[in-house]
């Protein structure tokens, strides 16, 4: 396996706002503002039809005008939703946030979720992830279906748009087709940032092809580095420049016990490695819970140890950053921002202000050109 280029610069940081039992706007606005004060790249909010919680994209649209810089990445599932609606909602989140939208792609695999819709039976992960890849694909095409300069407002000819700069996408997937173009003009970022949790094999294939940000669960920097290298190779195989893919290690964090550590009672489906700080190093806790599961990392300790862990892993060049999921956001996020981020800033490993205004700029990802922009109808009026 060719060694992947070392991840440059400061680590990219995203944080999950998921707060069980909260349906009001204030909870999420407060957390997002806190994360923005810490200069993090983005916040995420998970979503699923199978457990209580508000629509994640709605929540982050509500958060958008209450924040100015931080990226906003809701999960939107693709199995029981309409691809056309999904891309329009994500594009609109990009408009209302002035270029800060992302989209974490996820699927529904259970029979219980299928019965909420009554349209199609549950399908195995391989099938629904293949479809998710097609939805991500058509979303990218629909975001490109308006050229950036499609609106011309040409009074002399009475035309609001140049229709040669609008494109039918005529996408044919295995389970759906979409004619296009989108109803929404091309969003500020061109294409909002696509995030995929690349832990499962089927999701990893989608991440390599379509993700701007891939989340990986690993038990240590070597494991994360191996997945990152694999993702970059597969991205290159798919014809992509691997440097357009950011690979972030997914870490659950519990900052509830100062610099002491403990092993929490966690979901047995996702065994974790508990880490602790030993001297200046952060190492797997002796006798820690669970075996590596491709593996998931759970950090339980203080803000200083977490800063050490981030610096260690990132310093080894094995990841581009971290996606942190606080066990208790209301408590842990404050310690993360005031403790961990402050320490990282002292070490030059976290930004003190946002030099850019879009999520792509935070992630160091260029704004993509529209794929159809050169393909105007020959002889079309200009």
């Amino acid at each position: 396996m060719p060694s992947a280029p070392r991840a440059p610069g400061a680590p990219h940081l995203g944080v999950a706002l998921d707060s069980a039992g909260r349906y009001d706007a204030d909870t999420y606005v407060r957390l997002a503002r806190l994360a923005e004060r810490g200069g993090l790249d983005f916040v995420t909010l998970g979503d699923s039809f199978s457990r209580p919680g508000p629509d994640a994209l709605a929540v982050l649209a509500r958060v958008a005008p209450a924040t100015t810089r931080i990226g906003l990445v809701p999960t939107v599932t693709t199995t029981h939703t309409e691809p056309f609606h999904v891309q329009a909602a994500v594009a609109t989140l990009d408009w209302v946030s002035r270029g800060r939208a992302g989209w974490q792609v996820d699927v529904s695999t259970t029979a219980a979720e299928a019965r909420l819709f009554g349209r199609r039976p549950a399908a195995p992960a391989e099938e629904v992830w293949r479809e998710a890849g097609e939805v991500a694909d058509v979303a990218g095409r629909l975001w490109d279906s308006w050229d950036d300069d499609a609106e011309i407002r040409d009074e002399s000819t009475g035309r609001f748009v140049d229709r040669d700069r609008l494109h039918h996408v005529d996408f044919e997937g295995a389970t759906f087709r979409v004619r296009g173009p989108s109803i929404v003009p091309r969003p500020p970022q061109g294409r909002p940032v696509v995030v995929v949790d690349a832990t499962g094999e089927h999701a990893r294939a989608v991440a390599a092809r379509h993700a701007d940000v891939a989340l990986v669960r690993a038990d240590g920097p070597d494991g994360a580095g191996a997945v990152r290298a694999e993702l970059r190779d597969r991205a290159a195989d798919a014809g992509r420049d691997p440097d357009t893919l950011r690979v972030l290690a997914a870490v659950t964090v519990d900052l509830g016990n100062g610099e002491r550590t403990h092993v929490p009672d966690l979901d047995p489906v996702h065994p974790v490695i508990a880490y602790e700080r030993r001297g200046s190093a952060v190492v797997p806790r002796a006798g820690g819970s669970g075996a590596p599961y491709g593996g998931g990392l759970h950090y339980a300790g203080g803000p200083v140890g977490l800063a050490d862990l981030i610096a260690d892993w990132h310093g080894s060049g094995r990841v581009d950053g971290f996606h942190l999921t606080p066990l208790t956001p209301a408590r842990d996020l404050e310690r993360l921002v005031n403790g961990t981020v402050t320490l990282l800033r002292h070490r030059g490993l976290a930004r003190t202000f946002y030099p850019g205004s879009t999520l792509r700029e935070h992630l160091g990802l260029a704004r993509p050109a529209g794929r159809y922009a050169g393909a105007r109808v020959a002889g079309g009026a200009r």
């Binding site: 209580p52 508000p54 929540v59 005008p65 989140l93 748009v161």
Partner: protein, 440 residues
């Protein structure tokens, strides 16, 4: 202050007002120097803040699911494109405090569980200000953007919409008043679903339901299930007839006349004098009907290519094509032969060109006059039971209601015909609608 309509002491009926963001019809003027972005959030924020400053009941967004086409190509003469409604409204909830937030969402190309969840989320996140304008569609043209295509028979549009609304309400009611999640099961002709909803009951219980069709089926659906009807009846007499008809249907569903608000979509043109207002109205009509739009409007009626005709010349001398597929993504002209006959009569009687005829026959300016005259006329409409209020459709984005809010609202307040402060926090409270019964 409570005014009285006739000095008898009976309380004066209060007017309800809503602001419609200018859409993709030719009524939206994009050529004016004051015409701003149709897509930037700042435009939505401006109009919503203006509406809230004017103490409006709600802000209204239309929906698009496919760009319109004309002669097989994307229609390019009017505003094209828009953001997705519910997402914009969630963002507007952050920059407004009391204003109702209404999204048009199609019942044909959505499923009850997901849409009920999105509407409930908006209601939670806005503190009880969500409304849903239920529309239906059956055309295969729009269906080309969706998984199921154009699957629905035209006749089933309202049966699906009615079952959709009923199912959404079952989901909204599914948690216990104590906030405990309970399973639901619905089995009907269009939907057979079961499971658990992901949200507790929202602040309004049920988001407000708006209905916008005008057919017999549409009226019956409104009477059975809607809280607000968005109509287009422009004259006092037509409004009274419509209102009497629809409100007369309520009793059969155990509902009172006040349970359904009738709000026609209207335009307002103000001037310092009556003549000034008329002059402005004529200028706006000229802007709305560009030479190219005049040809297009005629092609929609004739159902055939008229690009060789001069908009400043006489009407086309050919017969219309009935059942033409020239135009896609718009409401069809019901009887082209009758419309052409009417246009010819108007053009002949007044000696009008094609463009002038379009200006003359498609004018839908409702209230034209001084602020005092417009306030008096609107008030008279409501006191005469021709409407419960109005959905104002400005021709300019985003400042098209600035003058109305600054100059007409205070006069309506002086007359005792409009609120001087928001009294409640929810859209239901603004509209004076009863709280929905929690069915369990």
């Amino acid at each position: 202050m409570t005014g009285t309509a006739d000095g008898s002491g009976a309380p004066r009926r209060r007017i309800h007002l809503a602001a419609h963001f200018p859409g993709v019809n030719s009524t939206t003027v994009w050529t004016d120097p004051d015409s701003g972005s149709q897509i930037d959030f700042s435009s939505f924020e401006h109009l919503a803040r203006t509406a809230e400053r004017g103490l409006f009941d709600f802000f209204f967004l239309a929906e698009g699911l496919r760009l319109r086409e004309h002669k097989g190509r994307i229609h390019d003469l009017d505003v094209v494109g828009r953001p997705e409604s519910i997402t914009v409204l969630n963002a507007l909830a952050a920059v407004t405090d009391r204003l109702g937030l209404a999204a048009t969402v199609n019942a044909t190309f959505n499923e009850p569980f997901e849409l009920a969840r999105r509407l409930s989320s908006l209601d939670h996140l806005s503190g009880g200000r969500a409304a849903w304008n239920v529309v239906t569609s059956s055309d295969a043209f729009t269906g080309e953007n969706f998984r199921r295509g154009g699957y629905l028979d035209r006749a089933d549009r309202y049966t699906r919409a009615a079952e959709f609304v009923a199912t959404a309400r079952e989901l909204w009611d599914s948690w216990t008043p104590g906030g405990v999640r309970r399973p639901f099961a619905h089995s009907g002709r269009h939907f057979t679903i079961d499971g658990e909803f992901t949200l507790p009951r929202s602040p309004q219980g049920h988001p407000v339901v708006i209905q916008a069709g005008d057919s017999g089926e549409g009226r019956e659906f409104a009477a059975s299930a809607a809280d607000v009807v968005f109509t287009r009846h422009g004259t006092l007499e037509a409004g009274q007839a419509f209102s009497a008809d629809v409100k007369g249907r309520l009793a059969a569903y155990g509902r009172a006349p006040g349970d359904l608000k009738i709000m026609p979509g209207v335009t307002v043109v103000l001037g310092d004098t009556a003549a000034d207002a008329q002059e402005r109205a004529a200028a706006i009509r000229q802007q709305q009907v560009s030479p190219q739009n005049a040809i297009l409007a005629a092609e929609q009626v004739w159902g055939r290519d008229l690009s060789a005709y001069d908009p400043d010349g006489p009407l086309p001398d050919v017969d219309p094509v009935v059942d033409s597929d020239l135009v896609q993504g718009r409401v069809r002209i019901g009887d082209p032969l009758a419309v052409v006959a009417k246009w010819r009569a108007v053009a002949e009687a007044k000696g009008l060109s094609l463009r002038q005829t379009v200006v003359e026959t498609t004018a839908r300016q409702s209230f034209v006059g001084t602020p005092e005259a417009v306030a008096a006329e609107m008030d008279a409409f409501v006191q005469a039971d021709a409407a419960d209020g109005f959905i104002l459709v400005p021709h300019l984005t985003p400042g098209g209601l600035d003058d109305f809010v600054d100059r007409v609202v205070p006069l309506l307040q002086e007359r005792g015909a409009f609120r001087t402060a928001y009294e409640g926090r929810t859209l239901r409270s603004h509209l004076g609608l009863p709280d929905p019964i929690w069915k369990s």
